[in-house]
């Protein structure tokens, strides 16, 4: 005798979403940095931008901002991400 039990977790529908293949190099790429309005994010992302430009040779950095860390980014901010090859989308405390 055995029992059959169900998985309680969110199971991603493979057909509905696909994982992006990672970039081999950031050189010549455009990287988005999303400021989520947390304290000190600007200073942190300033430093990240410097690292990206000096050490990784990115072509461009797009600085974006959403007004509230805990709500979705507004549609115009999402639209501005479209030209980016990579994005840092969240910063915690």
């Amino acid at each position: 005798m055995s029992i059959r039990v169900l998985d309680p977790t969110f199971e991603e529908n493979a057909a509905a979403s696909a994982t992006v293949v990672g970039l081999k190099s950031l050189a010549g790429r455009t990287v988005g940095l999303l400021d989520n309005s947390k304290i000190n994010v600007k200073q942190l992302l300033d430093y990240v931008e410097e690292l990206l430009r000096v050490q990784h040779g990115v072509k461009a950095v797009v600085r974006l901002r959403k007004p509230d860390a805990s709500r979705p980014a507004p549609p115009d901010v999402v639209a501005a991400m479209i030209g980016c090859d990579a994005l840092i989308s969240a910063v915690g405390d």
Partner: protein
């Protein structure tokens, strides 16, 4: 093609027995730490039927990551939590409320502030499923109170990934994160129920959910004056404003029978309580000196800047509940005031109340 309402889509594990199932779920981190009831297909079907839901129905969507919460996953987690099928309509209503934009589901469940979902149930479903509204109402001892809140927590853990240290970044959290659910004592209170005050029709059932911090217990057994009684609650709110968070928004207060009877005898309605607290729960920036925060006294508009706990009297959720003896009460502060608002929803019931009552039997 018509979807088969009875088909389940979750991955299935075949195990020797319930103890092995519990061990697997513990190892995978699929619990709150306590043992679980194995979610078998039969029990999950019973939960779905009790709420008149198809497995693929979407209860709501977490808007930041666009993650859907399906009825099937809610039912699986409700069974794990120990819910009877008759509790399922309440669990579903709570999750629907939490997916309302006003609740700020992502922020309130991921924040370092570590809030939990304070759930108040009103209407005939409370008695039909045997909820507790009296002794130890914020504590242990009642299956429905315990497992409805727990089911919501398990959905957060398993469906939304609110795992401590992962998406749940709580610095401390609080015991309400296991469960934080009560029924209002409508039978022993002349006041309208919370859900009715917030738009659910009289005679219907409803839930109100608020992202709440741990309850702060107060006591005043030395007066019959309604203003003095409520002033004790207001003082605790002011203290929270100074020691925790200044943001105005929803606060909840739970008033048990002893103090409630004094307020009722003095002719006070919930409205009078809300208006008193609105007037009284205010602090000045200079008050922060007394709680070790002198460094922020000069900020903003300076030492005389006033802060209010409630944006309007309606921000206060007044709940009649608790055991009959003792001049106690509780203040439940908000996670972060204006960042998350309490939401009330009606409970859509697949079964009539007498059917729910019939189902409400321990196996």
């Amino acid at each position: 093609m018509v979807q088969d309402r009875t088909s389940l889509h979750s991955a299935i594990y075949e195990l020797a027995d319930a103890l092995d199932a519990n061990e697997l779920y513990q190892q995978k981190g699929w619990t709150d730490g306590f043992p679980i009831v194995p979610p078998t297909e039969e029990r999950v079907h019973e939960c779905l039927e009790a709420a008149d839901l198809a497995s693929g129905d979407t209860i709501g969507v977490e808007s930041v990551r666009q993650r859907p919460i399906t009825a099937e996953k809610v039912a699986v987690n409700a069974v794990m939590a120990g819910c009877l099928p008759s509790y399922m309509p309440v669990v579903v209503a709570v999750l629907r409320a939490m997916c309302d934009e006003d609740f700020n589901l992502h922020g309130s469940t991921a924040s370092t502030g570590g809030s939990a979902q304070f759930i108040v149930v009103n209407g005939p479903i409370r008695t039909a499923i045997g909820m507790n509204a009296t002794h130890g109402v914020l504590g242990n001892g009642n299956r429905a109170n315990a497992t409805i809140g727990r089911a919501v927590r398990l959905v957060l853990i398993n469906v939304l990934g609110c795992i401590p240290g992962e998406l749940d970044r709580s610095t401390l959290g609080h015991p309400g994160k296991f469960t934080f659910c009560l029924a209002e004592d409508e039978e022993d209170s002349p006041w309208p129920g919370l859900a009715q005050e917030r738009g659910v029709p009289a005679g219907a059932s409803g839930v109100t959910v608020m992202a709440g911090e741990a309850p702060r217990q107060v006591m005043n057994e030395w007066t019959k004056d309604p203003e003095e009684i409520i002033e004790t609650f207001a003082a605790e709110i002011r203290h929270n404003m100074l020691t925790y968070s200044i943001w105005s928004g929803n606060y909840a207060i739970v008033i048990p029978k002893q103090l409630r009877e004094l307020l009722v005898a003095a002719g006070w309605q919930k409205k009078d309580i809300r208006e008193y607290v609105f007037r009284s729960a205010r602090v000045l920036r200079r008050d922060w000196v007394k709680v070790g925060k002198k460094n922020i006294v000069e900020r903003g508009k300076g030492p005389e800047q006033e802060f209010i706990a409630l944006r309007s009297p309606d921000d206060l959720l007044v709940v009649a509940a608790g055991g009959p003896a003792g001049g106690f009460g509780a203040v439940i502060p908000p996670w972060l005031g204006t960042w998350s608002h309490a939401v009330t929803k009606g409970i859509e019931c697949g079964m009539q109340n007498d059917e729910l009552q019939k189902e409400n039997v321990c196996r």
